[in-house]
Structures are given as structure tokens and as C-alpha cells.
């Protein structure tokens, strides 16, 4: 079997590794136009900030690919013939496949603003973006970041690390309003303030203004403010990269349409990761998932189907994590940004504003736990997922909270304060803390 994978991101590589494990004899070829070797997209910001070099964000050393007989082709796929099962590359070669995985990832969304094609206006998705950003922010004093999501705060942190003042435009009333409840968003806002990053809420970009050389010189906001700047980062999300799928006549909508087994409309052609759109997403799940974790999971799942073990893609219990300047964030299960009928929640915040926990649970008895938001606290994923999967009552979760504590040794333990706060907020469900962490679990 010859498996050709277009894209060497986490999805393509996860699939390749799983196929190698399931089918030791398979021929596997990974094609990428972006980089000779797989790298961690999520780590691009650390290269810009000087924490690491490009070579440090490669998850595997270069010998790994040869030793595992994973063929790497550094070229662009320019045509796809699904009838004859051929992929044409821009280096003059044609690859015949028995199975083809499209793991082509995303492209940065552009908002259609006047002036967005000026020099110094860009998104951040891949290596070319990183190079452009390094080049265009060289020696500048201010950059404007458009978008109040994960990439928005990353771009702000990147500029800030080089002494460039970022100004962040956020359309909504608070940071990442679609995901974070107001209290959590407020803690992120405190990070912006602490790092002296100005944020304009309720503000959108209206126009990017250029100078005589065609470079950005300022932006105009919907509030009518003109902000002088030398660079603009558009961080309003990403959209599936469909060019090859369209060339091959494969059904697409916003993404490449796939069924539960991640099969596209063409025989022996699969799609997974950022670029795939599920025809029938499971209840409560989105059709296009653009996360590192879902990319990895989809890649591994589709590998099973490709190897003759048809496996439906089931995302399982949701989880995600991020870091906003110095504030770590983890979330598990269902953690909606606003009130949801039938769901209640408990919220606790440390007086320092550097730690918070929100526990979501069913309003009806036995108040099964549904999800967690943790800020500045580390929670054990397997414990949280087990609670959610088992519909553990929230009172039992609170009593056993120490079991989920993943903070390093000697860190302040908040379980007692958390339980006290819970008892104040929900006196009808009194909780006694049973389990603490580490040594205190023995002596406390």
C-alpha cells in the first residue's frame, strides 16, 4: 500500500506514525510545501520571542523519518486526479497512491478590509508568516492586533517581547467572549493590563491606511480612532485550505466534506484535521475543528480506517489549553461562555486574580459535573475526564478535588478555600474536603 499524505502538520504526521505502527510494510510519503520536516505550529511564537530556535520546535529529530521509513517530499501538490489516483507535484514528479490523506490545514482568514493587502499586514499560521512577521516588525515601535482570540493574545505577547507596543482590537465586550465567561475574560484582561498592553474592546478594524511606499502606517477603527502603527496582525481565525481538494473535484463546503470515517467524496481519499468538515458532527460538536489535539486525534483515527480497521471519529470529552501571557488556562468538558438552561456552575477566584476555577454541573440532582475552566491552576486531565464521563455529582467532585490537583510541589493548595466558597454558594449541598494533595493528604 502506498499512502500519500498531503501536509506534514500534526494531523498528517499522526496519521503517518499510526499507519507505520499498524502496517509496518506500508509505503508512506508525506508531502509538504511549507517545511522539509514536521514542526510544532503552536510553538512559532516561541521562536519569534527567542525562547527557541526553529530546530528546537521540531518534535522529532531528522533521523527519525528515515529510520521509520517515512518518505518526506518538500514540494507543492499542484494537481489531483482521483480517477487514476495520482498527485502531481511542482518538482516534476507524480505520485500514485492507494490511499490519499488530505491534511492541508488552514489559511489565515482575512476580513476583506480596505488596505489589508498593504505591506506589513498579515496573519500568523505558518513559517512564511513567521518570516514575514520577523522581517516586517524589525525595529518598529507599534503593531495593531485585530482579534480577541488565542492568536490575538499570542501576537500581542510576541510584539511585547521585543519591546514593540501592541494595541489589540477586540470586537466583543470582553476577551474571547465566545469561549470565556466574563470573570475568566476579566482575569485575562488583567494580564493585558499588567503587561501594559492596551486593548480596545467593542472595537473593530475599519480600514488599514498605507503610506506612499505601500506600507501600513495606521489603522482606522470603527470607533473612529486612527492608531499609528507599522504592522497589523489579523487574528480573526483560520479557514480550511481547500485548493487541492477543489482541483481534484472533491466535495467541499467551508471545509473538505467528510463522513464519520473521515472519507471524502472521492474513493480512497480521506481528509482530516483543520481542513476537514464533518457532514454530521456529533451533538454539541462543531463541524470544523482547528486544534492541535483534534488534528492529532483525527490523524490517528483515519489511520485505522486506512489500514482496514474502519474507525469512526469520536472526539470524546472536550479539552483545550492555552496560556495568556503568564496565565495558564485549561478546560475540560462542557464549559459554555454564558448561561445555559439546565446547567449551573460554581466559580471561585483567588484574591490575587491569578487563579480561578469554574465547575459546571447539571442544575438537576444529582448535579452531575459537566466541565471545568481552570486559570492559573493545573488540573489532571484523566481525573477530570473520569468525573465527567461518570456523571459524578459536583459535591463528590468538590470533596475529592485534591485528586485533580496537578500543580507542582509546594504550590499553594486552594482546595480548602474552594470548598468553603462552594459551601457558601451552594449551602444546600454541603461538602467536606476529603482529599488533599501530596504530603498534606497524609498529614492534613
Amino acid at each position: 500500500m502506498h499512502l500519500v499524505i498531503i501536509g506534514n502538520g500534526i494531523t498528517g504526521v499522526s496519521c503517518a506514525l499510526a499507519v507505520r505502527r499498524l502496517r509496518p510494510g506500508a509505503r508512506i510519503t508525506l508531502v509538504s510545501a511549507e517545511s522539509a520536516h514536521h514542526y510544532s505550529r503552536t510553538a512559532l511564537m516561541y521562536v519569534y520571542m527567542g525562547h527557541m530556535r526553529l530546530s528546537d520546535i521540531k518534535p522529532y529529530e531528522d533521523w527519525f523519518w528515515d529510520e521509520n521509513r517515512l518518505g518526506l517530499v518538500y514540494a507543492t501538490a499542484t494537481a489531483l486526479n482521483t480517477a487514476e489516483q495520482l498527485v502531481v507535484l511542482n518538482n516534476g514528479t507524480t505520485l500514485r497512491y492507494d490511499a490519499l490523506l488530505l491534511a492541508t490545514g488552514s489559511e489565515s482568514k482575512l476580513g476583506g478590509w480596505p488596505g489589508q493587502h498593504l505591506a506589513g499586514v498579515q496573519g500568523l499560521y505558518g513559517l512564511p508568516d513567521l518570516e514575514a512577521m520577523a522581517r516586517d516588525t524589525h525595529g518598529i515601535s507599534r503593531g495593531v492586533v485585530v482579534g480577541g482570540g488565542l492568536i490575538g493574545v499570542e501576537l500581542a505577547e510576541m510584539l511585547h517581547s521585543r519591546g514593540i507596543e501592541p494595541v489589540v482590537l477586540v470586537r466583543e465586550a470582553r476577551y474571547w467572549a465566545s469561549v470565556l465567561p466574563p470573570e475568566e475574560a476579566h482575569l485575562v484582561d488583567r494580564q493585558f493590563q499588567e503587561n501594559r498592553v492596551p486593548v480596545r474592546y467593542h472595537t473593530e478594524l475599519r480600514e488599514v491606511l498605507g503610506d506612499a511606499q505601500g506600507r501600513v502606517r495606521a489603522v482606522l477603527t470603527t470607533a473612529g480612532e486612527e492608531i499609528a502603527c507599522q504592522w497589523v496582525g489579523l487574528a480573526i481565525g483560520v479557514t480550511p485550505n481547500l485548493s487541492l481538494a477543489r482541483m481534484g473535484g472533491i466535495d467541499t463546503d467551508r471545509g473538505i466534506l467528510v463522513d464519520e470515517l473521515l472519507r471524502t467524496s472521492a474513493a480512497q481519499v480521506y481528509a482530516a484535521g483543520d481542513c476537514a468538515q464533518h457532514r454530521q458532527p456529533a451533538a454539541g460538536e462543531v463541524p470544523i475543528e482547528q486544534l492541535w489535539y483534534t488534528g492529532r486525534l483525527q490523524g490517528e483515527t483515519v489511520a485505522h480506517t486506512i489500514c482496514g480497521q474502519p474507525t469512526r471519529y469520536r472526539r470524546g470529552i472536550w479539552f483545550n489549553s492555552a496560556k495568556f501571557f503568564n496565565l495558564e488556562y485549561q478546560t475540560y468538558g462542557r464549559a459554555p461562555a454564558g448561561p445555559v438552561a439546565g446547567m449551573d456552575h460554581f466559580y471561585w477566584e483567588h484574591p490575587s486574580g491569578r487563579a480561578a476555577l469554574r465547575v459546571y454541573f447539571q442544575a438537576a440532582p444529582p448535579h452531575a459535573v459537566a466541565g471545568f475552566n481552570a486559570l492559573g491552576l493545573r488540573l489532571r486531565q484523566d481525573v477530570c475526564q473520569q468525573w465527567i464521563r461518570n456523571h459524578t455529582p459536583v459535591a463528590a467532585v468538590m470533596a475529592e478535588l485534591g485528586a485533580a490537583n496537578f500543580d507542582p510541589e509546594f504550590f499553594p493548595q486552594h482546595e480548602q478555600a474552594l470548598v468553603a466558597a462552594f459551601n457558601r454558594q451552594f449551602p444546600q449541598q454541603p461538602v467536606v474536603l476529603k482529599r488533599r494533595k501530596g504530603l498534606r493528604a497524609l498529614f492534613g
Partner: protein, 453 residues
């Protein structure tokens, strides 16, 4: 992955930071004055002025650089600065350090008239302090101990500022500062003051190899009560406490909490931790070198004891010659000249990783008879590489984290920086039951229960 990126400009240091660094530079120049000045009284004044300038400059700079920013991971421009990315500054620093060790080890012996070679003026500048502490004039090793301790303390304060968001790092840093100052500097001095053997209670065989050599043991035993206790302490720590403590806490109880070599690496060497080579090739060299060193010192020790017990002259000569060569090649060249001299080029744990027999011994215990491991939090790893980057022992931590596996490596000294640097809260140093210690997370692979059920 080629890159055509232009080298970015470094954020300008504030005038205050520049001033503090100038004070440090002034301190170094004043030290040269102390070296050059022929007048003993002025030497001493220059010397203490130099220490004052170095100390105050370092402390002020640490606060300006780390204390004024919000608490958190502060790694900006690490790989962009020449000093921390093997640039020209790093090579010059490495040459100066290496040169200092060469002069100290082989050109600073007392010539019989109280003259200590090129470092003579610095040694004598410490006579007063040495008399107060040890009731005897200074020698080159007292000068070295003073510099070493100052480096641990001053750079320790820098580490405290830099890592103040992590209580683990605060307590651990305070611990290495305490053990260096108290047990590796003041206490041996005080023992000498009271006419007792100069003994280091925090160094054990096989690192301090001669502590279990028959020569040292017999001479200590002759010193009476305290000497007997020292022999007992040395043997008990090497053979009893080390396995027991390592069983409960991993090798970190020693390597990154107590040991002076580790103490210097964790403080003065902190700016260089990212330079440790993470490649598989480097790991192969590591196991090729460190275990033979352990075998070597065990064999030498056994030879010496066999000679002691049987009086066999043949074995005795072999053991004695081997011990001498071991002392030169491993004790001086490897642990000193290369171990510290190469800080700015190969990272601060070259000795600990490639050469230290104590680390090899602790490592074997940690790998096979310990409750210690670094846990991975489910499937949260994003392969960003921050953990591997800060690993001073050159462990490619992310290889384990991205597979959802716990990290159990002989070389891990448990400094906890991978956990501190991880942006997603994935890594945690834990002591737990040995059962299932190697068990990975069920959450990371699609062929886990979740997908195939």
C-alpha cells in the same frame, strides 16, 4: 528547515540595566587591579571593592531584569543574545573560565614561600577573612571556594527573582544556596578553626571519591570522635541514605537540592541550561562515558581496599597510580576545566551529565528503584519543545510528553524547569507508587478505549 530571517534587534536594555552591568564590569576590572597591585593593603582594598561592585551590580541587574516584570517564565531573546546562544561573548566567557581553572589547578600551588602563582594577590587578599574563619592564612582553594560560593549566592538571587512564580524553584534554589554556603564553605572552614579535619558533609563517594579510600578513612579514624563520625557519615550517606532517599524522591534530593556542582549549575549556570545537546547522538556519548567512569572509580576503590586488607603491593601500586590519574583526568580536567569552563558552550551540566559517578549511581537507582517520575498530563502536550529547551541534562522531554508517557530517565536531576516552563501545565514532578510508574496516558492515542469502544 532553512530560514532566511533577518537577525532581529534585541530589545534595548534600559539605562538602569546598562548602569548595573557597568558596575559588574567595573568589579571585574577592579579585580584585575587587585591582581596587579604590589601593595598588600591596597590589594585587599581593591579585592573587597571588586567583590562589592560585582555583588551590588549583579543584584541590581537581576532585579532590573527580572524583578520589575510580572512574575512568570522569562526567556525572551535567550537564543538571540550572543551571551546565551554560543555567540562571541559566550566563547570569551568560556575561555576566561577555562583559563581560570587551568591556572587554579596547575599554576597556583604554594611554592613553599606562601606564593600562589598568578593568583597570588587574590589569595592573600583573603588572608584576613581566612584567619577569622579557619584560623589559618588563605590558599588557592580558599579563594576558589569563596568565588564559588559567591557565584552560587549572587546568581542564586538572580534565579530567585527569575523564578519567583514557582515555589518549587524558590525553595530548591534557596536549598542549594544554603548547602553551598553552610555545608560546603562555612562548616569546613569552622572545622579547620577548631583543628578538625576539613570535611564536606554534602559530598559523598563516589563523587568525593577519596572519602571511601582507605587512606582517608584511616586518617580520619585517627582524629578521634569527630573523625569517626565523619567516616560513619560518609559511608552511611553513600551506601545507605543515597538509595533510601533516591527511592523516595529520585536523584533530585541530591543533584538539584544539595550538591555544590548542581548548585553552581542551577544558579550561575542557569543562563546556559538551554545549551545542553538534546540529540540522540549526545545521549549515546552520555551512556558511553558516565557508566565507565562509575565502574572505574568503583574498581579503583576496591583495588585500594584489597591492597589495604592484604598488603598486596602489586594491587596497591596499580590502585594508587589509577587513583592519581583518576584525580587528574576526572577530578580536575573533567569536573573543573570542562565541567565549568564549558558552561557557556555546552550548558552547565556537562560534568553532571557525562562524567559524575555519583550521578551515574543515583541515576541507576532513580531509573530502577525509585518512586520518582515526571508525569504527563493526559493528552495536553502540544510538542512546543519548551521543556526540552530548558532541560540542562539534555533530555528531550517532549519525546515523552507528546506520547503521553511519564519521564523516567537516569539522568533527570529533577530541577523541575520543564514543569515550570511548560505553557500548558503538562508536566509534574511526582513521587508515587512504583506500580504502573511507566504507564502512559490513555488519552493521547486514538487506539485508546475512547475511540475503539
Amino acid at each position: 528547515m532553512s530560514s532566511t530571517r533577518t537577525t532581529p534587534p534585541l530589545p534595548a536594555s534600559s539605562p538602569a540595566e546598562k548602569l548595573a552591568l557597568s558596575v559588574v564590569a567595573g568589579g571585574l576590572l577592579t579585580l584585575l587591579l587587585a591582581l596587579a597591585d604590589a601593595d598588600p593593603a591596597r590589594q585587599q582594598r581593591w579585592f573587597y571593592l571588586a567583590l562589592g561592585l560585582l555583588g551590588s551590580g549583579m543584584l541590581a541587574w537581576s532585579w532590573l531584569k527580572y524583578g520589575r516584570h510580572p512574575a512568570g517564565v522569562q526567556q525572551h531573546s535567550l537564543w538571540l543574545r550572543a551571551s546565551t546562544s554560543r555567540g562571541a561573548v559566550a566563547w570569551v566567557t568560556g575561555l576566561v573560565l577555562t583559563g581560570f581553572y587551568v591556572v587554579l589547578y596547575w599554576f597556583s600551588n604554594d611554592d613553599g614561600h606562601g606564593h600562589f602563582g598568578p593568583l597570588n594577590n587574590l589569595v592573600h587578599a583573603l588572608d584576613g577573612f581566612s584567619r577569622a574563619l579557619r584560623a589559618r592564612p588563605a590558599d588557592q582553594w580558599f579563594l576558589y571556594g569563596t568565588f564559588y560560593t559567591l557565584a552560587v549566592l549572587l546568581m542564586g538571587v538572580r534565579a530567585l527573582w527569575k523564578y519567583r512564580h514557582s515555589r518549587y524553584q524558590l525553595i530548591r534554589t534557596a536549598s542549594v544556596m544554603f548547602f553551598q554556603l553552610g555545608f560546603a564553605f562555612l562548616l569546613p572552614g569552622l572545622l579547620q578553626f577548631f583543628q578538625q579535619p576539613e570535611f564536606y558533609f554534602t559530598y559523598f563517594w563516589p563523587l568525593k571519591y577519596d572519602y571511601l579510600f582507605p587512606g582517608t578513612v584511616t586518617s580520619l579514624l585517627q582524629k578521634g570522635g569527630l573523625g569517626v563520625f565523619m567516616v560513619f557519615w560518609g559511608a552511611a550517606m553513600s551506601l545507605l541514605a543515597t538509595p533510601v532517599l533516591t527511592y523516595f524522591f529520585g536523584k533530585r534530593w541530591y543533584c538539584s537540592w544539595v550538591c555544590g556542582c548542581g548548585g553552581l549549575a542551577e544558579t550561575a549556570g542557569d543562563p546556559y541550561r538551554q545549551l545542553a545537546d538534546k540529540s540522540r547522538a549526545a545521549w549515546r556519548w552520555e551512556v558511553r562515558i558516565i557508566y565507565p567512569v562509575l565502574v572505574l572509580i568503583v574498581v579503583i576503590t576496591v583495588l585500594l581496599w584489597v591492597h589495604f586488607a592484604t598488603g598486596s603491593t602489586l594491587l596497591g601500586a596499580a590502585g594508587g597510580v589509577a587513583a592519581k590519574w583518576y584525580g587528574f583526568v576526572i577530578g580536575s580536567v573533567f569536573s573543573g576545566v570542562i565541567g565549568v569552563g564549558f558552561y557557556p558552550i555546552m550548558g552547565a551540566r556537562v560534568w553532571c551529565r557525562f562524567g559524575c559517578p555519583m550521578a551515574a549511581y543515583l541515576g541507576l537507582l532513580q531509573k530502577h528503584f525509585s518512586r520518582f517520575r515526571i508525569s504527563t498530563n493526559g493528552a495536553q502536550c502540544i510538542s512546543c519543545g519548551n521543556c526540552s529547551n530548558v532541560c540542562e541534562m539534555g533530555i528531550d522531554v517532549k519525546q515523552y510528553a507528546q506520547r503521553g508517557e511519564p519521564i523516567i530517565r537516569a539522568s533527570c536531576v529533577g530541577c523541575g524547569m520543564c514543569s515550570t516552563a511548560c505553557p500548558r501545565g503538562v508536566l509534574n514532578l511526582e513521587n508515587g507508587p512504583r506500580e504502573g510508574r511507566y504507564q502512559g496516558s490513555q488519552l493521547i492515542h486514538a487506539d485508546s478505549l475512547r475511540i475503539l469502544s
